[in-house]
């Protein structure tokens, strides 16, 4: 047998993964073969390099809450909806998906199919002047998570259709039937990359519940 054919076995030997019979015959060969002794030395130093130099000190953040949150948050198909996926959706798409419903009094957002962790409320100035309705956009994002650029907007809206209930100057709709608000534009209030926690402290506009 050629020495090169033993290289795999030498590697396994250096890793302590050979059976006793293999170890014994290999030791006998290595004792009389300088080439294979060199290969074995190299295997051992390679092993030491990998054992010693790779980062063992990195302490990842405690992911328990983040994972527990994901486990409890599923989309309608039963698949876990990742925060990252939610972040890629623009606020308009988000609003449509959640179905923003307008009624007299505070503007309500239809409860999403998933639990809501945080809530961003737009300033009351952006509410309906006629009825002081306020827009409340709920989105699912773990508290302390970075605000994605797509959500880093102050949301304003037009009531383009109807409102339910009485007293609102929109077109009448049957009571209890929601009308859809249109998300029109926004100006930045949160910076992309800012954490929801920081945004909350800065603006007081974020409420965890």
């Amino acid at each position: 047998m050629q020495c090169t054919e033993l290289d795999e076995l030498v590697s396994a030997y250096a890793d302590g993964q050979t059976v006793p019979a293999q170890s014994e015959s290999l030791e006998q060969h290595v004792a009389s073969c300088s080439r294979c002794r060199g290969v074995l030395r190299r295997q051992r130093t390679t092993r030491l390099l990998l054992q010693g130099a790779l980062n063992d000190r990195w302490v990842p953040p405690d992911l328990t809450l983040r994972i527990a949150y994901q486990l409890r948050r599923r989309d309608e198909r039963g698949r876990p909806a990742r925060i990252a996926a939610a972040c890629t959706v623009g606020i308009a798409a988000l609003a449509v998906a959640f179905g923003i419903v307008v009624s007299h009094g505070p503007v309500q957002v239809a409860a999403p199919a998933v639990p809501v962790v945080d809530e961003i409320q737009a300033p009351s100035a952006s509410g309906c002047e006629a009825c002081n309705a306020r827009l409340s956009v709920r989105y699912t994002m773990a508290y302390g998570h970075k605000v994605p650029a797509a959500l880093a907007l102050e949301v304003t809206y037009d009531v383009d259709a109807n409102t339910s209930g009485s007293g609102h100057p929109g077109r009448a709709t049957p009571a209890g039937r929601p009308a859809r608000a249109v998300i029109r534009s926004g100006k930045p209030t949160a910076k992309g990359g800012e954490t929801t926690e920081a945004l909350s402290q800065r603006s007081g506009g974020l409420q965890a519940f």
Binding site: D7, E8, S11, A12, D15, Q17, R42, Q43, T46, R47, L49, L50, Q51, A53, L54, N55, D56, W58, V59, P60, P61, D62, L63, T64, R66, I67, A68, Q70, L71, R72, P80, R82, A84
Partner: protein
Amino acid sequence: MVEADAIAVVGAVSGENCEPFDAIVRHYQARIARYLLRLVSDPELALDLTQDTFVCAFRNIHTLRSDLALNAWLYRIATNLAIRARVRRQRLQWQPLAELEHTGIGASVAPDDQVIDRLVVEQALHTLPRDRAACLLLHIKEGFSYGEVATIMGTTPEAVRKRIARAKEQFRQAYDESLKGSRTHAVH
């Protein structure tokens, strides 16, 4: 967490009840995250993949075979996710050490030998095909035997022996070349 405890916890996990699973997450998350970091060399991606690993594990825990240890199963999921993730992210990975000075990283402080060694090892490891790197890390850093690595990777111990031998050789060549280059750079 000993395997008996893990089995008890697994038994307590049901489709609607995640709480027993939190104990598994707490116990394994740091190990899995560190393993994934070594494999993908990107902390954010490693954390995302760790999260995905446990979410996937929870959703499929009823498929856990009795002959497969929980930790081996978690590593299998993590490895599969990392191999797939790398295809998407490989263009965003390593920057050669030689280019660091152009970015200003490390320009003001000369890196010491230990830091250079770590970077060079990580960089050399990153040149390996992901399945080989996974075998190497599972054995050398995570302490699995060749047989256990074979179970995790869904292959035979002989195949693992080959992959690890080739991975070590390829790693060593890349390491020697990178080390030579980075030390030359550090001197100048």
